[in-house]
């Protein structure tokens, strides 16, 4: 211990390593942040799964409310009313703090799904696509059915 103290003393003389503290603005991933309009916490979204698309260099997190998550985990392949899902997809970027990792760059799309009771007893599915951090609603509906099917076909991640 004494040895260590003496050593430290001499080391502190030889080095004057001034590591300047990073500001919160440098730390928080601003481009990857989600629009406030979504009121994320209130919606009670939890992580269902995440995935990566190497071809597009994107990464995604699928969120759901408690009911949606329960239904996904039970994997009974049925869609029931009052499920809420959100799929956020980011462009990937290299992690500046770790050579060997990719992390979210800017928000690419946000897809929201809400299921509800319809009059004829079937469950109706509302799907909305938004572009980017600005949360611009997309008018293009061509892929809606494909996307709905795709999102509901995801397997939840094992989270013990």
């Amino acid at each position: 211990m004494k040895m260590r103290l003496i050593t430290l003393l001499f080391l502190s003389i030889t080095i004057s390593s001034c590591s300047s503290k990073k500001s919160p603005d440098e730390i928080i991933n601003k481009n990857a942040s989600l629009p406030e309009a979504l009121n994320w916490e209130k919606a009670g979204y939890k992580v269902i799964t995440s995935y990566i698309d190497k071809k597009d260099s994107t990464m995604s997190i699928l969120y759901g409310n408690d009911l949606a998550r329960k239904t996904f985990i039970a994997s009974e392949n049925k869609i029931i009313p009052n499920e809420m899902l959100a799929l956020v997809t980011w462009k990937q970027k290299a992690d500046e703090n770790w050579f060997g990792a990719n992390i979210p760059g800017s928000v690419k799309t946000i897809e929201l799904i809400k299921t509800s009771d319809s009059k004829n007893g079937a469950t109706s599915i509302a799907y909305n696509l938004y572009q980017g951090k600005e949360f611009t609603p997309s008018k293009d509906t061509i892929n809606n059915q494909v996307r709905i099917k795709y999102i509901f076909s995801q397997q939840p991640s094992v989270m013990p």
């Binding site: 080391l11 916490e41 939890k46 995440s50 050579f99 991640s157």
Partner: protein, 316 residues
Amino acid sequence: MKKSKKAAKWKIGVSVLLVLFLIVQFIRPEITHPPVTRDIEVPAEVKAILVRTCYDCHSNQIQLRWFDKIAPMYWGVAQHIKEGREGLNFSEWDKLDPASRKAKLWEAVNQVIAGAMPLKDYEFVHRSAKISSGDLKVLKQYLNSMVVKPLEDTAKINALNKQYTQSQSTAMKFENLPRALNGVEFIPDYKNWLPISPSERFDNGTMRVILGNDIAIKAIQDKQVNPWPKGTTFAKVAWDQLEDKEGHIRTGAFKQIEIMIKDEEKYRSTKGWGWARFKTPKMIPYGKDAMFTNECINCHLPQANQDLVFSSPFKH
């Protein structure tokens, strides 16, 4: 008259210092010379860089220069060698399994990129130990050449399916919460936290989601993230990557969960954070004893300018 008195005082002072200097030369902590059991095997150009810049502290082939042998410099050198070898020893590469060897190399290059290694005071006196941008390029290229595509195979898929069925049937309940060897407990509620960042780790074929508790999420919203407030807790979950032919990667088997809890007083001895790692869905505590935290701290240390945290959190 006055002048000569002053000179005499000076002389005495210098002599005392000289004697002290000579005396301290006899205080010599031991530097051991254990045998090389197996030297790291890497391409020659990579090896040359490691030998020139790291071997004086991370090997059993240490070359002391004359000025390294003079106390007090010598004490620092001895301490560096002792601690350096503990964390990484290129001369005892056989002590690590293949996966750990790879992980150590990525860690090593990352410490160089972060400017943490070679130690600055050492570099200051050993000019030849400086790593040039050309050296760094060689190291990075070598690591990139080791990356393997995490293609899915039957073994990986079976491992996932087994875990998956189990998780559905039992919801994996624990009678007693698993506890890391430093006493930090597993926190099952992490599943209900919001994520602060996903990460694709192509260095080791895993993917992760880092989640934060309410305090962490609020701190991000309030921009109070350096230092993080007391009670901030992160959980990092790691899975195998399962890549299909279209380059679509999903989460495979659950590998481990890691936890960091911020509390300056309670966790003073481990840099203000309570660390824990649990492996497999059985949540087996990692390490041999409570000192496993040294590993966590040493790798997280280059992030000291952001409270030892790597992740750049996104805001909800």
